[in-house]
Amino acid sequence: MSIFAKYFPNAVTMKSDFLQATWETIYMTLITAIVAGVIGMAIGIGLIVTQPGGILENRVVYNILDKVVNLFRSIPFVILLAVIAPVTRIIVGTAIGTTAAIVPLVIGSAPFYARQIQNALTEVDHGIIEAAEAVGSGPIAIIFRVYLREGLADIIRSSVLTLISLIDLTAMAGAIGGGGLGNLAINVGYSRFESDVTFLAMLIILVLVFAIQLLGDLWARRVDHTA
């Protein structure tokens, strides 16, 4: 412990702060991942099935989804945090705090995930979809038994990418009192010139990111039977 104390003189006294910040980061990431995951997945599938030549081709729906995704992906996250505050207050009752940060996080990451899902499902060979149609599969069966199944390896890879970028976004949640490791690194470490705190916060984030990447890659490889 003495070596740790030597190189991290301030951080060593802040064990409970780090535990709490790590938990806040994980909490924000997990809840956002679940909510944005469902929304993004739905929009991504919506884009795929309604696109020209899709199994439920619908120009109007496709264009609306496409524009909405582009719109929200264009807004810088830090600005989105502020702009979305009134909406957050309606949904969670307050615009400040960890839970309040989840609303802008969802809005910031769901469109990104939707595009990722769309790209992953575009890779599913159209011939396979046609073969499923030819044996009498309906749209629901094709979505769940063909698109999501055949695209699974790519969906996992896209999800890893989205999760990592989500951790990145949570670091900005400090701006609205969301807490987390990013907040600890900037508002404590950077502001008080306690650079060891900043550095440790970064290390913990790196460990989280590497763990997600590693597990995701292993899982994707397991389900990938294309080669």
């Binding site: 011939g127 046609e130 149609e133 044996v135 009498g136 063909v146 055949e150």
Partner: protein
Amino acid sequence: MTKEPIIQLNHIDVTFHNKGQTVKAVQDVSLEVARGDIYGVVGYSGAGKSTLVRVINRLQRPTAGTVTVNGQNILALRSSELRAARKKIGMIFQHFNLMNARTIADNVDYPLKGSGLSRKERHDKVARLLDLVGLSEKAQDYPAQLSGGQKQRVAIARALANDPEILISDEATSALDPKTTSAILELLKRLNKELGLTVVLITHEMDAVKEICNKVAVMEDGAIIERGDLVSIFSNPQKPLTRDFINTATQIDQALEKIYKQAKGLGLDDHHQLVQLKYVGASTDAPLITELFKRYQVVSNILYGNVEILQDTPLGNLVVVMAGEPDQLEQAWQYCRDAGIQLTFLKPKDPEVA
């Protein structure tokens, strides 16, 4: 012999609109396929063959015309009824279209989901189907581990899962080597015999048609330009495109070219005549060449010979140089014509002039 039609396409038009351009992929095509037929649709790529057969299970909705399959008006079906109808129309594709994330057994099982069969019944049926196509030992493999021919067998098993009466084969052998192609065609023929499966076979290879079809339609620019039973199309093609396809299959064009090249060395004059003999069926039984010599002292030198057995009917093609006295030759030719043999006198072009 009147067999009831299982597929009736009437005055089908398919028009695509793409970026302001209008493409008439299929124009006023009517096609009738009888139960138990193996009906070949031949044509070069872009002729509209694939579009036409996709109309049968409404993967492609025609712009105009009517489609009747098994007495059912396919175009009037609601989507749930259409899905039920599609289960009875199997389809296989050039690129197999197997699901890569599923095992072979799971691929074959896919169409059975929601069929009301129990897990055990489905398992047994998949095993039977894999046995039928000779791939039982590959059940737990993934498509990526199989060869092209094996993948197509899996696709056939999948297409047969719901006991269809019709199988549509869309260029199913075009991505396979000749040996594998023959094996797949053999399998289709066997299924036709054993299960009474009606097959619609689309291809650009007349060889495939020759091997298993009993009926052929030739397509060009979205229209059927010639159709009929295999033997009559092969023995007496009317359209240049049909002749092209057949000549590619019998390779007579290449043979003639070679013969013409060495025509000078043949020493052709009024005692020597280059003749192509074509015969269908029984006339092959008579020992023609011997007969011509015995009766008219005409010597026939065979330069090229090819006999196809189509639907158990032999179809012969000989290119010979006949040598003899001019009047004897005349009589020999008359003898041939009386025997039902088609004669064509070939005049090699002078290479120097050409």
